[in-house]
């Protein structure tokens, strides 16, 4: 038959049937019209000719389907008994060409307003459509090389509908939504169907026909851009991992799939992929040499993920760098990346301006990268790497943030051992923490291409080894006790006596007077006496305040200059507690002395910082309510100095129990009295602590330049001033102190060191907390406005952690609240 004739015949038949469907209310007529249409879909007893079927699918199917949807109503469905009509109706959508059916369904869902019978029916049908795996057919249809060039607008619509399905359904159905349309269910389904569609593609490629995966790439890209990469790639990647193993064709399809992802989606897809793959080998299998071919991919993989973001886990970093290392074409890129990483790591500006988390991230990347380089590559770029490394180490060791210092030490140790294995090893003293252990673990070079099958093998073999070890371990101690052979075991019933009193013996007696202590500490060659004096001093000072006042300044001088000449356990704590006790006993002269010493020559930074600590602690003690009534407790855990302290509670409990047993009480009230109010002892002396410290910070000495190199001390000073300000709450001097402190902050507000800025922030917070709001508003309106603007500025550029940013925000809110009252 002529094509034109076929077209005419089909058009005629369809038009007639559609007219019948539109108008007829009679079941039999509708059934026969549907039967006539069904012939064109095939699968019936007397199907239409293939030409006719194609013509129908191409031109008329959409019209028929739309008509069917429009007729949908409870009355119409009941034209025939037992849901027969509904079944027939559904079969048009489920059996015909999938893409058109899908589009018509989506279109009608979109067009229907509000929950209605028709909407629910169509949604249920869509759920059946998805459940029957028709999405595969939709995707396959787009992969198959079409006989005529694809209509871009059609593909575009289909793409939007495929990816936007959960949103659309959610909006339309509201609370009636079906579970299959929820994104967490739909996207895994989509991924599964994608994998099946790719399977068909591979099969037809094997069969010799051409296929294109660009539509699937677009679907993948769009889903990832919509941040559904976890759901999609979480399903797709494991399947592809299995399928690509050992099949070149699958690998080619996979590479092609990722190559054809549109540029704007590359980042989303690659990031998702790096997160989803179990290791570098899989990533390499799935991606191929994409980074070499595609500029955008190269940018994402070698710059964005490494330098511009820092949220990825170590495992992801390992995959990424391992991927670069796995192919000879990509290795130059790895070397280049590593050099850049180390350069960033060593740049002093980066250290000052990037958050610590990012520095950790870069450090991990550096260590991982170093682990992947081989000897030849290392040797080739040793000088360059070492130079960057050393620059970074020295910058970090100068930093006043302990975490940054430690990071520098750990990376320096590990990286230098790797770069220069034959040189003398670098060794720093630092305390282990989680981060340092993790970094050290990264240093051990991993065998490249650690496939999951191999790791699972290792995991399986590991438990088999442990019992042997256990058996060995059990066997060893059995040989240990000697002479157990023929010995009767009756000796074992010797019960040991209490040996808790077995302590280190101190031969010299502790001094009993404060003056004795002073003498022993200042000029003594008898180290045991010296140590005993140091240990006894705090208690003596607290016990005899009058005697202490006579010699307080001398005692302070002696303590301040005390050096740890013998290794006394807890020396720093003892010295500090003694100093605090002296300061508390005689605050004014001692504080005067200490603050004056803070700005003199010939002290070490350590001593200056000790002065600051002592002043803070003493102020804290002085301002503690109720301190006069309660005996002060030794605050920090030192070595237990009185061994006979321990049994006391036991007898006391016994005595109290006995008293309670023999005492009759007539009323049962709370035995405790309400703590009475006390004057704040710090109030009278706050000025002695505060003002001498704040006065001279800008006058450098030969050995001590607060505004220069000694910014660590400056940071401590700012913290101390803030603490003193805070402790002086409700005192008369608070207003004057606050004013001075805000000036201090103003002078230093753009300091380059993060620790100093933190200190200033403490100070500002303390001012806002301690000064009465009214005084702030009346006396310091300009300063307050300035502080507010500084805080607003520093919030945006807080190079520290998030906690600091949060803190700035809180302080700013408080300042803002005050300013609002002011304006």
């Amino acid at each position: 038959m002529e094509p034109a004739a076929v077209a005419a015949a089909v058009r005629l038949a369809v038009q007639e049937a559609v007219r019948t469907l539109r108008s007829s209310e009679d079941g039999g007529t509708v059934l026969s019209a549907l039967g006539r249409l069904q012939r064109f879909l095939g699968g019936t007893d007397a199907p239409a000719l293939p030409d006719e079927q194609q013509e129908f699918a191409r031109l008329h199917l959409a019209t028929v389907l739309r008509c069917l949807v429009s007729r949908l109503s409870p009355a119409w469905l009941e034209l025939l008994p037992a849901g027969q009509l509904e079944e027939l109706w559904a079969s048009f959508f489920l059996k015909g060409p999938a893409d058109q059916a899908f589009l018509v369904l989506m279109e009608s869902i979109e067009a229907t307003e509000g929950p209605s019978f028709r909407l629910m029916k169509v949604a249920e049908l869509l759920a059946r459509f998805l459940g029957a795996g028709r999405l595969t057919a939709v995707l396959e249809g787009q992969c198959r090389q079409p006989q005529e060039p694809a209509f871009p607008l059609f593909q575009e619509t289909l793409l939007a509908r495929l990816v936007g399905l959960p949103d659309l359904l959610g909006n339309q159905l509201q609370r009636e939504n079906l579970t299959i349309f929820l994104p967490q269910n739909y996207f895994p389904l989509l991924a599964k169907e994608t994998a099946r569609a790719l399977g068909t593609v591979v099969d037809s490629l094997r069969g010799g026909s051409d296929c294109s995966v660009s539509f699937v790439s677009q679907v993948l890209g769009k889903a990832c851009v919509q941040r559904r990469h976890k759901e999609v790639l979480g399903v797709l990647v494991p399947q592809l991992t299995v399928l690509t193993e050992g099949s070149c064709l699958w690998q080619r399809v996979c590479w092609r799939l990722l190559e054809q992802v549109p540029d704007r989606a590359t980042e989303a897809v690659l990031t998702g992929l790096v997160e989803a793959v179990p290791g570098p080998e899989v990533l390499s299998r799935l991606l191929g040499n994409l980074v070499v071919k595609n500029k955008k991919a190269q940018f994402v993989m070698t710059r964005k993920l490494l330098f511009l973001q820092y949220r990825h886990k170590t495992q992801e970093l390992r995959s990424l760098l391992g991927y670069l290392a796995l192919d000879s074409q990509r290795r130059p890129m790895l070397v280049q990346v590593l050099k850049e990483l180390l350069e960033t790591w060593g740049s002093s500006s980066a250290i000052r301006h990037t958050p610590l988390e990012q520095q950790c991230y870069v450090s991990k990347a550096v260590l991982l990268g170093l682990g992947l380089l081989d000897e030849v590559e290392l040797r080739a770029s040793r000088e360059e790497l070492l130079a960057s490394l050393m620059a970074g180490v020295s910058c970090r060791l100068d930093s006043s943030l302990p975490a940054a210092r430690r990071l520098g030490m750990v990376v320096a140790e590990v990286a230098s051992a790797r770069i220069q294995p034959e040189g003398p090893p670098l060794k720093f003293q630092y305390q282990d923490d989680e981060l340092s252990r993790e970094l050290l673990a990264l240093a051990t070079p991993q065998p490249v291409g650690d496939s999951p099958s191999r790791t699972s093998l290792q995991a399986a073999s590991a438990p088999a080894e442990t019992p042997e070890k256990g058996a060995l371990g059990d066997g060893a101690p059995q040989t240990q006790p000697q002479g157990s052979d023929s010995e009767p075991d009756s000796d074992d019933e010797f019960v040991p006596y209490d040996m808790s009193g077995d302590k280190e013996l101190k031969s010299s007696k502790a001094p009993t007077y404060v003056r004795d202590c002073l003498e022993a500490l200042s000029a003594c060659e008898d180290w045991e006496r010296w140590e005993a004096a140091l240990r006894a001093l705090e208690a003596l000072v607290l016990r005899s305040p009058a005697a202490t006042r006579e010699v307080s300044v001398e005692l302070t001088r002696a303590l301040l200059h005390l050096e740890e000449r013998t290794s006394v356990v807890g020396f720093d704590g003892l010295r500090q507690r003694a100093l605090v006790a002296v300061t508390v006993t005689d605050p004014a002269p001692v504080a005067e002395y200490l603050t004056s010493q803070f700005y003199t020559l010939n002290y070490s930074l350590r001593q200056r910082m000790d002065i600051l600590d002592v002043l803070t602690l003493a102020a804290q003690e002085l301002s503690r309510p109720g301190r006069l009534r309660k005996a002060p407790q030794p605050s920090s855990p030192g070595p237990p100095s009185w061994p006979d302290n321990a049994p006391a509670p036991a007898w006391r409990a016994v005595v109290e129990e006995r008293i309670r047993g023999k005492t009759r009480r007539f009323s049962r009230g709370s035995a405790r009295s309400i703590p009475a109010g006390d004057p704040n002892s710090f109030s009278a002396v706050a000025g002695y602590f505060f003002f001498p410290l704040i006065q001279r910070f800008d006058r450098p000495l030969v050995t001590f330049d607060l505004l220069g190199d000694d910014h660590l001390v400056l940071g401590r000073l700012a913290h101390t001033l803030g603490a003193l300000m805070y402790l002086a709450v409700n005192t008369g001097a608070a207003v004057a102190m606050g004013k001075a402190l805000l000036e201090f902050v103003w002078a230093l507000r753009f300091h380059s060191d993060a620790y100093v800025r933190q200190g200033l922030l403490t100070a500002v917070s303390a001012v806002l907390l301690s000064m009465p709001a009214q005084r702030l508003l009346e006396d310091l309106p300009d300063e307050l406005l300035e502080v507010r603007s500084w805080l607003a500025g520093s919030e945006s550029c807080s190079a520290g952690s998030r906690a600091v940013a949060q803190w700035i925000k809180c302080t700013w809110c408080k300042a803002q609240g005050l300013v609002r009252i002011l304006v």
Partner: protein, 326 residues
Amino acid sequence: MAAPPPPSPDPQFVLRGTQSAVHALHFHSGAQGQGCPLLFSGSQNGLVHIWSLQTRRVLTTLDNHGGQCVTWLQTLPQGHQLLSQGQDLRLCLWDLTEGRNAVVDFVHLESMGFCRGSTLAMGQQRWTLAVPGKGTDEVQILEMPSKTSVCTLKPEADAKPGMPMCLELWQADSSSRPLLLVGYEDGSVALWDISQRKVCSRVACHTEPVMSLDFDSQKTRGVSGSAEKALAVWSLDEQQALQVCRTHEITNPGIADVKIRPDHRILATAGWDHRIRVFHWRTMKPLAVLAFHSAAIHCVAFANDGLLAAGSKDQRISVWSLYTQT
């Protein structure tokens, strides 16, 4: 397991009245008619006191060391004869039969150190005596009572172990060859074969001078204490080679004396830290730390019935009864 350990015991009784630091102690059981055990004590002022453990009083005082410290006391197995070694460079042999207290003989010593001698019975009337010799690193062996010098044990020229600090003569059950254990100043313990006059074995047990040692010939295991914070337990194998089994850390440095109880079940140490420590000999499990004295303890001694005595610089002698009922 939950039961708390019993509180640290008190001494059974305390002997006071030496008027001077006690440097040597020795139990003697059944000297006069089986019934009356005695305790000999030697003190800084040169006196030897003989205590009755029944009345807990001094029976007799012996004075023949010219006011110089008495460092070692030992009764001879034959009966009522006592050896006392003093810093006046004399070793006196006392006859105590039937209440007598006369010096019957003395040996002139040639070393000023605190090294105590050691005796070993060789026959019915003959016994061997080991004392520090003339040279600083020598040990002299004498045949007694004839006072014949048998030999002088001098270490090889390149060994340089320093002075001998403590001596222990013994003889294996299977052989008749007397052996001598010497603790040296450099912290090593050496085993001498006297008949061949050579060192069988030497092992470094301590880093400080060995102050005292005792040897259990049944288990061929010995223990030594030094100026450092550890006790060393060493053993002797069939090839007569010494080896250190283990060291046991203690809280304070300095062990002046160490003794194994005659039934080989516990051992006691005299500490410079004023404390007596008692250990289980086989396992070296610490059993007790006896804090009674107020000054360094110089010597400990065990009686055959298990009684323990300790003499201290605080001029007191404490007597303890620990783990004796079993």
